[in-house]
Amino acid sequence: MVDKQHLLTTEQMASFVADGYLRFDDFIPDELNKAAHEEMASGMSVRGGGGTVLDNVWHDESAVGKVFRLPKVQGIVQSLVGENPLYDHHAVHIVRPQSEHGQIWHADAIIDIRMHFDIQFFYFSHDTPREMGGTMILPGSHFRRVCETDVARYQNFLGQHPIVCNAGTLVVVHHGMWHCAQPNLTEDTRYMFKLRLNPTVRQLKLWNTDDIDTGGIRGILSRNHRWYGNDVRLEIVNRIKLWRFLIGDESYDVGYWLSRLENMPENVPHVA
């Protein structure tokens, strides 16, 4: 078990539920970034079998293995998918120099109707300015029930978020997050290391819950994303359902949303 100081806070978990991602800038030490970059550029990163225990995938000297064994990265992993998650797959995403067209929008899975969720890490081992990409994500898209590239005819959304970052930035997303690689107009190859993990334990209060009673959670869970349009209230219902699942409290509400619908006026007044 990783030290409690490395676990996510309740506010961070609520942000993950509302936005579908968390971003950690300048998070990985530079010497590991350089080693991981070299590993990716030389095609040396070892691939595990789907469903392997994460700890068994990379040997001790693997640079990406070291990245994901860092206590502060383990803290993110444990908070979201528990202590011993399964390695689903990884991919070294490469965008060649002078690639003028972005990848189509997609989610990385067929529709998964479970409340339980996988996470995907996007690790950027080198500086990624806008002219180099990086990966575009659509905050708040993670509850949308779509299959893979069903969303490919969309191009732009209000609030779309290009991950422009320094070396060592790590982003973790819910598996339902819509995303696409962006054009690389530079002369350098762009690399991004993506890792998907599956939980093996019930995702119930796995983070540092010291701040669970903080008043800010309702505000976070009520955030709007401008591209939602008229659907924002439906998305708040989706968040309440996931938050109830994560905290183990089926009566939780951010106001009078689900609790109003759960009020069943079935009492028959006594007639004398």
Binding site: G102, W105, F143, N156, F157, L158, G229, N230
Partner: protein, 91 residues
């Protein structure tokens, strides 16, 4: 006689009202002059479908509206208020 090719503009709106604001957009160019791509702009080309119509775009598809399937009332997936507009360009 000049040959014409279609330009398509896809606008997704906040509500079904054609005056409501654009939340997502895409363009497809049938003249072969330009290839639009994901993430290529941060602001929509028009604020509403009506504003695009005032600039000469012709609406060729309205989104149909259906009640939610039983049990799917709170599910979200695609953007629901999708209008497709065209312009014809000489090549």
């Amino acid at each position: 006689m000049a040959e014409l090719r279609q330009q398509l503009l896809v606008l997704h709106l906040h509500t079904p009202d054609l005056n409501s604001h654009v939340v997502a957009w895409a363009m497809y160019d049938g003249t072969g002059q330009k290839r639009y791509t994901t993430g290529d702009s941060e602001t929509p080309p028009y604020n509403s479908v009506v504003e695009a119509m005032q600039d000469g775009w012709r609406v060729i598809q309205f989104p149909q509206q259906f009640p939610a399937y039983p049990g799917m009332e709170y599910n979200t997936s695609y953007l629901r208020f999708e209008y497709i507009l065209e312009k014809l360009e000489e090549i």
